[in-house]
Amino acid sequence: MKILVCIKQVPDIQGDIRIDHAKNRILTDEWTPFRMNRYDEFAVEASIGIRERVKDAVIDVISAGGNNVSGVIRRAMGMGADNGIHLLSGSSEEISAFQVASWISDYARHRQYDLILTGMMAEDSQQAITGPMIAAFLEIPCVVAVVAENVPINQRAVCVEREIERGFREALEVDFPCLLTIQSRRQMPRYPSLSLMLRANSRSIQTIEVHASDTGKQEHHVSLSFPGQVRPGDVLGGTLDEKAEKFATWLKNKSII
C-alpha cells in the first residue's frame, strides 16, 4: 500500500503579524520561526497509524514551497514517514491552492498512491480546499474532515468517520485510490524520535523544481487588513486586584450578578 501525505510549512508568528506596504502579503524575516501546519501533523500521524496495522505500507510526504520547507519534510520523516519529496518553487510568494493542487496531482498521477492525505486546513491561508482540488485533478473520491480511519484487511477501501455538523459524524466507505482531509482529533500527533530524526537527516529528499502556470496564477487580487473592533473591547487597567474589582463592578452594572 502506498500513502502520500501533503504537508505545508507555516510561519509561527506569536506576537504581532506585520503586513507589507502594498497590503498584500505577510512580512516574515530570517528570524520568523516556521513549523509544520498542525493539521498536517495529524495527517502524518494518521498515516503512521495505518502503517502500523497494514503490513508493507509506504509513506511518502510531499511539500511544495521555497528552499526552507525541507525542515518540515525532515520532521515528518522523523515522525516516521519513509520518503520525502520537495516540490521546489522559485518564488517566495504565497502560492494559490489551485496551483499547489495541480503540482501535487501532477506528481501523484502516475505513482499509484492508494491513499492521499492532507490536513483539514492550513493554519495560515485557512482555505481547506487544496485537498478537494487535488482529488478533483486526479478524479478520485474525496472525504473532508476525517476524524477516524481504518483500513480493513483486504485493503481495497478505507472506512472513515467524518465530521458533518454540530458534532454529528458520517460513516463512509471509500474505494482506493482516494483522498482524505484529516481533522484534528484526540489522538495527538507524536513527536519526532531522535533515531528517526538522525536517519532522516542522513537521507536525501527528492527535489523537483516546479513553476507557476498561468491557470495557477489566475487567483484574485488580494488585500489584507486587520480585523475591526465589533464590540467595545474595554481593556481593564490596573493591578490584578484593581482589575478584579472593576470586573465585579461591571458585572453588577450589567445585572449579571
Partner: protein, 333 residues
C-alpha cells in the same frame, strides 16, 4: 427563452444547498442570505441546486418560502461521489445557467463540491468567506486568515467564481416571498459509486446543558494544562446557572469532554455572559459564541481576535488573574 417560454437571464448565482438527514441545514438559509446580498449588487437570478438527500416536500416548502427556483436531484443520494455527480448533473445545469458565482457552504460536503467544481470549471475559488461587499464597482469577498488575526479581501476577477461561505456569517431573515419558486426534479443515476455512506452517528455526549447555561466559562489552549481546569470550574462556580466549556483544542487535548466544545463543529451558545479564558478567537470558535449577550476575554495577548468581539478584556496571565477574580467574586454578598 427556455422551453417554458420564460426569459433566461444570462446572469445567475447558484447555491449548492447543504442538507442534513433529508432536511435543509441552517447553513443553506445562510447561503440564501449571502446570495441575496450578492444579487442586490450584481443583479443576477438565484438558483438553488440540492444535490444531497432531501425530502421533496422540504424542497417545495423552501421554494415557496424563499421564492427561489430549486432543482432537486432524484433519486436521493447521500454524499455521492462528486466527480460523477458534477459530470452528470451539475455540468449541464451550469452551462445552461452560466453563473457568475457559485456558493457552497464551507463545510465538509460543501468543500468537496467546491474543490471539485473549481477544478472542473477552471474557476477561481474563494474559501471560507464571511462577508461580501461592493466597492468601486467590484465585488469583494472577505475571509479570515491566520486564525482570524488577519482578514483577506479578495476581488472578484473572473467568472464563474466558486465561493464557500463560513457557517454563522450570514443571518437568515425569515420572510414569505411574494411569488413562490418552483422545484424542478433532475435525474441522476449515480449508483453506489466509489464512496458509500453507511449512516450518521449522533454525538456521544450531549450539549444541552451548555446551551441552557446563563453564564459560560470557556477554557482554551491558553490555560496551559488539565491541572488548571479546577481554576476554571471554580470561577464558573461563582455564577449561578453556569457551565464550563472549551475550544476544540482544549477538548482534543482531553482537558474537557467533546460535548463541551463550542464552535462550528460543537455547540452554539448564546448565554448572558461568555468568559473566554485563553481562547484566541478563531472564526470556527466565534461562530459558536458570538451571539452571547456579553463577552469577556481573559488573554495575555491584546491582539487576540477574541478581543475584537469582547465587551471587556483583561490582558493578563490568566493563571495569575483568575484566582484573584474568583476570590473577589466569592466575597460578594
Amino acid at each position: 427563452m427556455n422551453i417554458h417560454g420564460e426569459i433566461v437571464l444570462n446572469k445567475s448565482i447558484i447555491i449548492i444547498a447543504e442538507t442534513f438527514d433529508g432536511r435543509l441545514s441552517p447553513s443553506t438559509f445562510e447561503l440564501v442570505e449571502c446570495a441575496k446580498a450578492i444579487e442586490s449588487m450584481i443583479a443576477a437570478a438565484i438558483h438553488v441546486i440540492i444535490t444531497d438527500r432531501c425530502h421533496p416536500w422540504v424542497a417545495e416548502e423552501f421554494a415557496l418560502e424563499t421564492g427561489l427556483e430549486v432543482k432537486l436531484m432524484e433519486p436521493p443520494q447521500q454524499s455521492s461521489d462528486c466527480t460523477e455527480m458534477i459530470k452528470q448533473v451539475l455540468s449541464p445545469i451550469l452551462s445552461e445557467l452560466s453563473p457568475q458565482i457559485i456558493c457552497t457552504s464551507h463545510s465538509s460536503r460543501g468543500l468537496e463540491i467546491a474543490g471539485s467544481l473549481s477544478v472542473h470549471l477552471g474557476a477561481c475559488c474563494v474559501a471560507g468567506v464571511e462577508a461580501v461587499r461592493m466597492e468601486q464597482g467590484r465585488l469583494i469577498f472577505s475571509r479570515p486568515l491566520f486564525g482570524a488575526r488577519l482578514v483577506a479581501h479578495e476581488y472578484l476577477k473572473k467568472t464563474p467564481t466558486v465561493v464557500t461561505i463560513q457557517p454563522g456569517s450570514f443571518s437568515y431573515a425569515r420572510s414569505q416571498a411574494v411569488s413562490p419558486g418552483h422545484v424542478e426534479y433532475i435525474h441522476f443515476s449515480g449508483g453506489p459509486g466509489r464512496l458509500r455512506s453507511s449512516g450518521i452517528i449522533a454525538p456521544s455526549s450531549d450539549s444541552t446543558a451548555l446551551s441552557h447555561a446563563r453564564v459560560v466559562v470557556a477554557a482554551g489552549k491558553g490555560i496551559g494544562g488539565k491541572e488548571n481546569m479546577g481554576m476554571i470550574e471554580e470561577l464558573a462556580g461563582c455564577f449561578p446557572g453556569s457551565a464550563v466549556a472549551g475550544s476544540r483544542i482544549a477538548c482534543d487535548l482531553g482537558w474537557l469532554d467533546h460535548g463541551k466544545q463550542v464552535g462550528v463543529t460543537g455547540a452554539t451558545v448564546s448565554p448572558l455572559l461568555y468568559i473566554a479564558c485563553g481562547i484566541s478567537g478563531s472564526s470556527q470558535h466565534m461562530a459558536g459564541m458570538k451571539g452571547s449577550s456579553h463577552i469577556v476575554a481573559i488573554n495575555k495577548d491584546p491582539n487576540a481576535p477574541i478581543c475584537q468581539i469582547a465587551d471587556v478584556c483583561v490582558i493578563d496571565d490568566l493563571c495569575a488573574f483568575i484566582p484573584v477574580l474568583t476570590d473577589r467574586l466569592k466575597c460578594l454578598p
